[in-house]
């Protein structure tokens, strides 16, 4: 072949030519969605082990998919957490609020009120069900796509919005890119722009909690794409060696910006299976199934709380929106993918389940949708009254030099003075 790089020598006659495998980018935009790369198992078929089983007992679950809601959205099987309607309605409300909030903030960016935004459309069950399955003081180390955790912990919408607008009331003083929330009061760790760093930090926090004889556990979230980062390996290694009380969640929403999960290794194995080589427990769950997600998270949390160590959960879901306001998904995937995702929409499925139970109705759903849209709109108005990125007001220039260190050294004091000069 004529395009051999100079140094390589021709294969010997008795040797096969090697081939480089590049995961094909499929399906392509223009074409139609093709989800043939995985099968959707029936709901209710996966057995639920006791929380104290040896981790190996859970390893077969790496290739299963825990599902509770069946095709008619009835709750079936051992993993049904048996939540009361009140709790389910609360979960539905928080998911709907998350979606309404996302839609509003996405538009706010589109209309130039801020620089950047990322929605969690299609992944609301992951955050909301998991927040409800954990205790309010369990420490959360998240990526940028679990805003539902904050909403389900009643972090004030207005604070979230002011962070998005980087305005004078932004709890983070306008320092962070929109969506990079932080709230110590809500046991929610500062979100990093650097992928994966939060996961081993969650393990470290959990080690500290165990070190202190505390009873709070930690939970960490990472996208399937970011599992290729070193810190994913660090998290699994340290969680295994020190049996840290932590729940490690891989949110497999099929895409990492324009790269399909196959580029992260999804072609060869599931992400839940990464736990096996470390002797960690693992679960693989339908992330668009509120009940299954709740049950799996609860199982892992109780296991950790009882000093049986960490669990890796793969939440199998779909990123229904763009990666962020900076990309156009139709450039890299079929436009009908979000509509045709085989595991459906988490909000719709939980609503249908409640309606099936006679605990919810189309009318109440519509009414709640409108109520939440109003709530979000009104809160947004209030938030904008405190300023937007473009218009301000912002925190004063002097604040730019604060919190680099606890005590400001001379070079920063000097630069602060310089910056304050008119």
């Amino acid at each position: 072949m004529n395009d051999l790089p100079v140094p390589s020598n021709p294969p010997l006659p008795n040797r096969e030519r090697l081939r480089l495998h590049i995961p094909p980018h499929r399906p392509q935009p223009g074409g139609h969605a093709d989800f043939g790369y995985f099968r959707v198992p029936a709901a209710g078929v996966v057995a639920r082990p006791a929380i104290d089983v040896p981790s190996v007992v859970t390893h077969p679950l790496a290739t299963a998919l825990i599902r509770v809601l069946d095709e008619e959205n009835r709750a079936v099987g051992e993993w049904d957490p048996g939540l009361d309607p009140e709790t389910l309605r609360q979960g539905l409300r928080w998911m709907m609020l998350t979606r309404a909030y996302d839609e509003r903030m996405y538009r706010a960016q589109r209309t130039g009120k801020t620089s950047f935004y990322m929605t969690s459309r299609g992944e609301e069950a992951v955050a909301v069900a998991q927040a409800m399955a954990l205790r309010p003081d369990d420490m959360l180390f998240t990526s940028y796509r679990q805003q539902g955790l904050l909403i389900a912990r009643n972090y004030p919408l207005i604070d979230m919005m002011c962070q998005i607008y980087s305005n004078g009331r932004d709890p983070l003083k306008g320092r962070q890119l929109p969506v990079m929330y932080s709230s110590r009061a809500h046991s929610f760790f500062s979100i990093s722009g650097n992928l994966a760093t939060q996961l081993p930090q969650a393990v470290g926090w959990a080690m500290a909690s165990a070190y202190a004889g505390d009873s709070r556990i930690a939970a960490g979230w990472i996208g399937e794409g970011a599992t290729a980062e070193a810190d994913f390996h660090h998290a699994l290694t340290f969680a295994a060696v020190y049996r840290a009380p932590v729940v490690l969640n891989v949110v497999n929403n099929q895409w990492a910006i324009s790269s399909h999960q196959e580029v992260a290794g999804g072609e060869e194995a599931t992400f839940a299976a990464r736990a096996i080589g470390f002797g960690l427990a693992c679960l693989r769950v339908d992330g668009n199934d509120f009940l299954a997600t709740y049950a799996a998270t609860r199982w892992a949390a109780e296991r950790a709380r009882a000093n049986h160590g960490a669990t890796l959960i793969e939440l199998f879901t779909y990123r229904a929106g763009s990666h962020s306001t900076s990309d156009d998904p139709t450039k890299y995937r079929p436009e009908d993918e979000p509509r045709t995702w085989p595991l459906g929409d988490p909000v719709e499925r939980l609503a249908r389940h409640l309606i099936g139970l006679g605990e919810w109705s189309e009318e109440r759903h519509k009414a709640q949708q409108e109520e939440l849209a109003r709530l979000v709109r009104d809160t947004d108005r209030e938030a904008q009254s405190h300023g937007t990125l473009g218009e301000g007001p912002h925190f004063g220039v002097e604040t730019m030099f604060e919190d680099v260190f606890k005590d400001m050294p001379w070079n920063l004091r000097r630069q602060q003075r310089e910056a304050e000069e008119p």
């Binding site: 004529n2 395009d3 051999l4 790089p5 100079v6 140094p7 390589s8 480089l20 590049i22 995961p23 094909p24 980018h25 392509q28 620089s115 950047f116 980087s166 305005n167 932004d170 003083k173 306008g174 320092r175 962070q176 890119l177 929109p178 990079m180 990093s192 722009g193 650097n194 992928l195 994966a196 794409g225 970011a226 290729a228 980062e229 070193a230 990492a256 910006i257 324009s258 790269s259 580029v263 992260a264 290794g265 900076s326 990309d327 450039k331 890299y332 990125l389 301000g392 912002h394 925190f395 220039v397 730019m400 030099f401 680099v404 070079n411 920063l412 630069q415 910056a419």
Partner: protein, 337 residues
């Protein structure tokens, strides 16, 4: 001659080299089918095939390691780090391996790798999409470091970097991708087409590494800048109404000491401007070199105008950015003293 933006010029450089050298390949996050988040590799996979241009797992350390292995084989990998802010996971492979392999193997193995990374602020990217990290790499022996300021240089320097037999860290000021930027965010954005350096030959040419360019001759003060700050320095010189000589360093390592020293010896005054944080930034080395080489010619203290020693804030982007006002003040300070 075709008119190209920085993005198009960089794309053209890689297109040319993919065509000329079968050992050249490109990989990185989202660079394949999508063509990169800044579209710099757009169309290259379609034209040259998935074998030559492909997506990589999100692991900067793994990407760099694979490039080192490929370099040892004899290929010339070009890897993209999606943002310079995300290069840290790759530092061990870059600093401990790529930069040292020729030395530790007594010349048996080399790392002819080009590492592309968008750098700098100006797009409201916040503290993890705005960093200028060049000084971490200019301290490392065995690495070359480049930062172009316009399309013509960008293409010529990138081809030179790809052809270089040692590892080159190639920083691309993202604020310049689609137009020159003189540090006045309030003014309407200008496309590259209005800048003469947007005239870029279709085909192969190089701009040699290690040579600076005098982009504005002057006799009263020398302003050393690179990347976005070159345009800011030019604006500042005008606004200060100063007879300032502005030098675009283009390559940070190796440093073009001759050009710098010749200028400062003439002007007797020197201002250094960069966007990176001040302390131990690249400007410190420039300042040290200039005072070592030009001590007896210096009529005033060398002035550094830089980013502050804080992370790049989101809302206060323009208070942080060392714009024309601050550079002009630095020029005046150098002239006043």
């Amino acid at each position: 001659m075709p008119v190209m933006s920085m993005v198009q010029a960089l794309n053209s450089a890689m297109d040319v080299m993919l065509g000329r050298d079968p050992g050249v390949l490109i990989f990185g996050e989202d660079v394949g089918f999508y063509g990169g988040v800044f579209r710099v590799t757009e169309g290259l996979q379609k034209k040259h095939g998935e074998r030559r241009v492909f997506d990589a797992p999100i692991a900067e350390g793994g990407i760099m390691a694979a490039a080192v292995g490929m370099g040892a084989y004899g290929l010339r990998p070009i890897v993209e780090i999606q943002f310079a802010d995300y290069i840290y996971p790759a530092t061990d492979q870059l600093i401990s391996e790529a930069a040292r392999i020729r030395y530790r193997s007594a010349g048996e193995f080399a790392a002819p790798i080009t590492v592309r990374a968008p750098c700098g602020g100006g797009i409201f990217g916040g503290q993890t999409h705005s960093q200028s990290v060049e000084a971490i790499f200019t301290h490392v022996c065995g690495l070359k470091t480049v930062m172009p300021s316009n399309p013509y240089d960008a293409k010529g320097l990138l081809i030179a970097a790809i052809e270089d037999d040692d590892p080159v860290v190639f920083f691309e000021p993202k604020r310049l991708y689609n137009g020159p930027f003189d540090g006045h965010p309030d003014r309407p954005a200008v496309p590259w087409s209005q800048h003469k350096a947007s005239e870029v030959p279709e085909g192969y040419y190089t701009v040699p590494l290690g040579r600076a360019a005098v982009v504005r001759p002057g006799s009263a003060v020398t302003v050393l800048a690179y990347g976005t700050m070159v345009h800011v320095a030019l604006a500042a010189a005008e606004e200060a109404g100063a007879d300032a000589e502005v030098i675009d360093l283009r390559t940070l390592l190796p440093i073009d000491l001759e050009t710098i020293v010749a200028s400062v010896k003439r002007t007797g005054r020197c201002v250094i401007a960069h966007e990176a944080t001040r302390t131990c930034g690249y400007g410190a080395e420039l300042s040290a070199l200039v005072q070592e080489e030009c001590f007896y010619h210096l009529e005033a203290p060398i002035v550094r105008v830089t980013g502050y020693d804080t992370p790049y804030p989101h809302a206060l982007e323009w208070e942080y950015f060392p714009g024309p006002k601050r550079v002009a003040a630095g020029i005046r300070q150098a002239l006043a003293a």
